[in-house]
Amino acid sequence: MANNEAIIMDSKMRTKIYWRYVFLSQACFSQVKMMTAGFCYAMLPWLKKLYPDNKEKLIEAMVRHQAFFNCTPETAFFILGLCMSMEGEYAADPENFDPASISAIKAALMGPLSGVGDAIFWVTVRTIAASVSITLAQNGSILAPIVFLAIYHLFSTIVRWYGLKFGYSLGNQFLETAYESGYVDMLTMGATTIGLIMVGAMCANFVSLDTAIILSGSGETAQTLQSALDSIFPKLLPLIVSLLALVGVRKGMNVAWIILIMVIVGIAGVGIGIF
C-alpha cells in the first residue's frame, strides 16, 4: 500500500463533484479540447483537498487535466471517478506512482466509453423518449416536453451518479491490488500502451480531411486523388495532419496558431479546389 494514508473521498465530496460535473460537463466546449474545461473544473475541490498547501503539485495536476477530453457526458462520470482515485493514490505515494498513467487511462477509456455511451443515450434512450413524446405532441398534449426530459434524465442520472461512485471504488480496489503485488510500475506501461492505441484509433475516427484534386477526367467519371488514396491508405491525410499537429505541439507552438493555420488552410484549400 502507499507510503502515506490516502485521502478518502467522502460522500459529501462526491456529491459536490457530481453536481459540478453535471452542471458544467459541456461548458466552454472548444473544437480543439472539447470537454476538457469542465472535467478539470469538476475535479478542482478534490485536487485542492489533496494538495492543501502544495501549490506545485496542484499546478501539476491542473496542467495534467488540460489534456484533450471528449466522452459521452453520462459515461464520462466513470472516468472522472477513476481519475479521482488515481489522483488520490499519486498524492499519497508520489515516488512510486507515475502520474502519466492518469492521462493514459483517460486516453484509453474516453473512446470506448463514448462508443457505448452514444449508443445508449443518443440512439436508444433518446429514441425511446422522443417516440413517446412525439405522439403526445401530435395529440396536442403539453406534457410532451416534460415526458421527454423525464425519461431521458431518469436513465442519465442513474448512469452519472453510479458511474462516479463505481469509477472511484473500482480504481481504488485495482490500485490496491497493484500495490500489493508490487507491480505498480506495470500499470503505467500498460496504460500507456492502451492509451496510445486508443489515441491512434481516435485520430482515425475524429480527424477528417479529404482532397478534391482530380487526377484525370471530369464529372462523373473523374479519377480523383482521394479515390486513389482510398485504395492505398484511406486516412493518409488525417494521419499527416495529426502528426504535423504533434510536431507543432512538441516544438512548443502556441495552440492558437495551429488552429489559425488550420482555418486558413481549410478556407484557402477549398477556395483553390484542393479540399
Binding site: Y41, Q66, W122, T127, S242, A256
Partner: protein, 264 residues
C-alpha cells in the same frame, strides 16, 4: 406583434434555454420537442409549438452530434422556424423545409463560435492551470459559459427582425467556399487536442502502438469498443512477458536480485 418585439422575445427565450443547457450539460433541453412548445407558450400559440416540436424532432431524429461534431444545429433552426411560424403566420410545411436548410447553416455558425470564441478561451484556461489559480479557472468557466450563448442570440435576433425572405437571401449570399472551408478546418481540429494528449504518452518505442491503433482502425474498420478489447490483450501480453522476464532474472540472479533492474 411587431417584428422587433417578436425578435426580442425570441432572442431572450433562446438565450435562456441556451444558457440553461450549457449549465446542465447534455440535458437535451435544446431539442426541438422541448424548444418549440416552450417558445409556443411564450408567443401564445402552444398548439403550433407542439406540432412543430413533433415534426422537427422527427426531422432531426437521425442527426446526432456524436464525437463532438455538429452536422446540423437543430436548436437554432427550431427557434427561428417556430418564431416565424407563430409570429408571421408562416405555413408549417414551409417552415419544416426551411428548418432543414437553416440547421445546416446554423451549424457552421455554432462551429465558428466553437473555433474562434471557445478556442480563444483555451490558452486562458491553460494559463490559470499553470498558475494553479483555481478561483480564476472557476470564474472563467462560468463567465465563458454565460457569454457563449450571446453570439447565437444576436443571430436569432437579427434573423427574426429581418424576416424569412431576408433570411433565405442572406443564407444564399454566403460564399460556399467559406462555409466548406470552415467545415474542412473543423475536421482537422481534433488533431490538435489529440496531439496534446499524444505528447504526454509519446516515447520512442511506444509510438508504434499509436500507428497500430491508427492502422487497425483504417484497414480493419474496428470500432472503438472492440479496439479497446484488442488493446487490453496486447497490453496483457506485454505485462506477462515482463513478469516472465523478471521471474527469470530473479531465478538467475539469486541473492542479488536487487540489481537485476540494470539488465532488465
Amino acid at each position: 406583434m411587431s417584428a422587433t418585439s417578436l425578435a426580442l422575445t425570441t432572442a431572450i427565450v433562446y438565450y435562456i434555454i441556451q444558457t440553461l443547457y450549457s449549465f446542465y450539460g447534455h440535458s437535451h433541453l435544446n431539442r426541438p420537442i422541448v424548444v418549440c412548445p416552450v417558445l409556443g407558450i411564450v408567443l401564445g400559440d402552444v398548439q403550433t409549438g407542439l406540432a412543430l416540436g413533433a415534426s422537427l424532432e422527427l426531422l432531426f431524429m437521425g442527426i446526432t452530434n456524436i464525437g463532438g461534431s455538429i452536422p446540423s444545429d437543430c436548436f437554432l433552426a427550431a427557434t427561428l422556424v417556430t418564431s416565424l411560424c407563430i409570429g408571421t403566420g408562416m405555413d408549417v410545411d414551409t417552415a419544416i423545409v426551411l428548418a432543414a436548410a437553416i440547421g445546416v447553416v446554423a451549424a457552421i455558425w455554432s462551429l465558428t463560435v466553437r473555433i474562434v470564441y471557445q478556442g480563444a478561451l483555451v490558452p486562458i484556461f491553460e494559463r490559470y492551470a499553470a498558475q494553479g489559480n483555481t478561483a480564476g479557472y472557476s470564474r472563467l468557466i462560468i463567465i465563458g459559459n454565460l457569454v457563449n450563448g450571446l453570439f447565437s442570440t444576436v443571430l436569432v435576433f437579427a434573423a427574426i427582425a429581418l424576416g424569412a425572405d431576408a433570411l433565405q437571401s442572406a443564407m444564399a449570399a454566403i460564399p460556399a467556399f467559406i462555409l466548406d472551408g470552415m467545415s474542412v478546418a473543423a475536421g482537422m481540429m481534433p488533431a490538435v487536442g489529440l496531439a496534446l494528449l499524444m505528447n504526454m504518452l509519446w516515447s520512442g518505442k511506444a509510438s508504434i502502438y499509436f500507428f497500430f491503433g491508427f492502422a487497425a482502425t483504417v484497414y480493419l474498420n474496428i470500432n472503438m469498443t472492440f479496439m479497446v478489447v484488442i488493446a487490453v490483450f496486447i497490453t496483457l501480453m506485454q505485462v506477462y512477458n515482463e513478469l516472465d522476464l523478471r521471474n527469470r532474472l530473479k531465478a538467475v540472479g539469486g541473492s542479488n536480485g536487487e540489481e537485476d533492474d540494470l539488465f532488465g
